[in-house]
């Protein structure tokens, strides 16, 4: 990891700067979208964040829901069948998922949506399918790893099955589930094969909507490192990689903070020692 970061820093630090993001466009005008940026990576940053947000929006509910179902509600037969399907899906290479998206698009063009084209929504749907098994498996694993006694405690306290899940099991398994969410987000942020077949392009400006093409950091890195014209282009490719790495680290930091906040809220634990009076009236 150190060697990898070392190589990236050595080759990319020189290109880090305002010009990498906005080229010669004033930052405020670029950020607000008043002036389009054609040679900087700002549109790719926004594109990646939009793609990530939309992908997680589509995948979180079904992924975590399916994990909960498999861990606590499914019959052994359904568990085996659905578990097998999820394992199969987990084994699908991302380029195959990209081809699936592309084929889906062609089918749509010949049937229900003749004007459909590669876009942010299609790429997000395909990425959501790609990361779904990670979410399902980690949620299921985190819930199944909890002691059996927690289920019994919740039931003995008079909580129904869903309330035991909602108020005891899910918070207790939150750390494991969140690690799955992070893994899935990381996978969605870095994947190139899916988006290059379903909507990402080298130059599109800021994402114009769900049905518009978009730029994304992994595709920009791929494009610049494979099509570079001079040393500066290659250096900018390395710098873009550093930006993507920083974005992933920022996500990790935000998730850790969120985890701590949720833990604290659920556990009701305070590090300071409140007075007896405060306790009574908290």
């Amino acid at each position: 990891m150190l060697a990898l970061v070392g190589v990236l820093l050595r080759n990319g630090t020189g290109a880090l700067g305002q010009a990498l993001f906005f080229d010669s466009v004033p930052p405020l005008a670029a950020i607000t979208g008043q002036v389009p940026v054609w040679d900087g990576i700002w549109p790719a940053c926004v594109g990646t964040l939009s793609l990530l947000a939309l992908t997680m929006l589509l995948a979180l509910g079904p992924g975590i829901g399916c994990g909960i179902y498999l861990a606590s509600y499914a019959s052994p037969r359904i568990k085996a069948l659905l578990g097998f399907a999820i394992d199969l899906l987990a084994g699908v290479p991302s380029i195959v998922m990209g081809l699936f998206g592309f084929t889906l698009l062609l089918t749509l063009r010949h049937s229900a949506a003749p004007n459909a084209g590669p876009c942010l929504l299609l790429a997000s749907c395909c990425l959501a399918l790609l990361v779904l098994p990670v979410l399902v498996s980690t949620t299921r694993g985190a819930l199944e790893a909890l002691p059996r006694q927690l289920h019994l405690s919740g039931a003995a306290l008079g909580l129904c099955r869903w309330k035991t899940m909602r108020h005891i099991l899910l918070p207790a398994a939150a750390r494991g589930i969140l690690s799955g969410v992070l893994l899935a987000a990381g996978r969605a942020a870095e994947d190139t094969a899916v988006i290059m077949l379903t909507g990402a392009v080298a130059n599109a400006g800021l994402p114009a909507g769900l049905t518009a093409r978009f730029e994304a950091l992994p595709f920009t890195i791929f494009y610049r490192s494979s099509q570079y014209r001079d040393a500066l282009d290659l250096q900018q490719g390395f710098a873009t990689t550093l930006v993507l790495l920083a974005l992933s680290l920022a996500l990790l930091a935000a998730a850790t903070r969120l985890q701590r906040a949720l833990d604290q809220r659920w556990q009701g634990i305070r590090t300071n020692r409140p007075t007896q009076h405060a306790d009574r009236h908290a």
């Binding site: 927690l150 019994l152 003995a156 008079g158 909580l159 309330k163 556990q267 409140p274 908290a282």
Partner: protein, 273 residues
């Protein structure tokens, strides 16, 4: 919404004055087709402690869990027979329509397990959680019940200054008393204790025993114990079990057996078959 007596179906009630906390008639329990309890009929008095003793695997815990239908949370369980529990002055069939959701029954029946099962949250939240989410009580009532339950379990003086500390930082004995307080805060109609001192040292065990001596006046208690000494000290009614059957029942007013006799009966297979 808290479950109130008004939710109960009158057809399930018995009108005669109730002197008992619970009654089991011809109860059989099976796990994956294997019979664990055989035709159990037992009455639990409305006051005092009923102690279940017997060898490991004799069905004590399974019997205890029939009162709050907790066996149903374990895979492959099936129970047959009639189980009635006195709840807020009415004698209710625990398998009746009022308890289609067993959670509605369990809010009336407190349970403490062999190993302290504190939730991995603060001391305060351990008691708050079922009061808020199972009974749906407002914060003012929760605060009142919390303090009252901690006082009843003799824990208030020890934890009142650190209610927001993790419950896992308490000693084993304190954790078990917290579990007891959590049950008491629900104002149970029946208290089930599954070897509550089994995982504690002798001093903590004595503290819990002393606590039970005071609680016996207010709550009907059904308790499983592996300690014959403890059983003889606490029992108002002693039930000897073997191979999923009730072997013998003694009442304190009629005289309990002495420890050697009880031990001999436990060791003697022929007496129990």
């Amino acid at each position: 919404m808290p479950n109130t007596t008004s939710d109960f179906n009158p057809t399930e009630q018995e009108t005669q004055p109730i002197e008992r906390a619970a009654r089991l008639k011809h109860v059989c329990t099976f796990f994956d087709g294997v019979q664990v309890l055989h035709d159990i009929s037992l009455e639990i008095p409305a006051h005092g402690i009923t102690v279940l003793v017997g060898r490991s695997g004799s069905g004590k815990t399974t019997l205890l869990r029939t009162f709050n239908r907790l066996n149903e949370c374990l895979p492959g369980c099936r129970t047959r027979g009639s189980i009635h529990v006195s709840l807020k002055g009415q004698f209710m069939d625990v398998h009746g329509p009022a308890f289609r959701d067993a959670a509605r029954l369990r809010i009336h029946i407190g349970m403490v397990f062999q190993t302290p099962d504190v939730l991995p949250v603060s001391i305060r939240r351990n008691i708050e959680l079922p009061l808020r989410h199972a009974l749906g009580l407002p914060q003012a009532d929760i605060d009142e019940r919390l303090q009252q339950a901690l006082r009843e379990s003799g824990l208030w003086e020890e934890v009142s200054e650190r209610l927001h500390a993790p419950a896992e930082t308490l000693s084993g004995g304190q954790q078990q008393r917290l579990c007891l307080a959590r049950s008491l805060a629900m104002h149970p109609s029946l208290l089930l204790l599954d070897e509550p001192t089994a995982s504690l040292d002798s001093v903590s065990a004595r503290t819990i025993e002393a606590l039970l001596q005071t609680l016996r006046r207010r709550y009907p208690v059904v308790m499983v114990s592996h300690s014959l000494g403890q059983a003889l000290r606490l029992a108002d009614r002693l039930v000897l079990m073997n191979n999923g059957r009730i072997q013998h029942i003694w009442n304190r007013q009629d005289g309990l057996p002495d420890a050697p006799t009880l031990e001999t009966m436990l060791e003697d297979d022929t007496c129990c078959t």
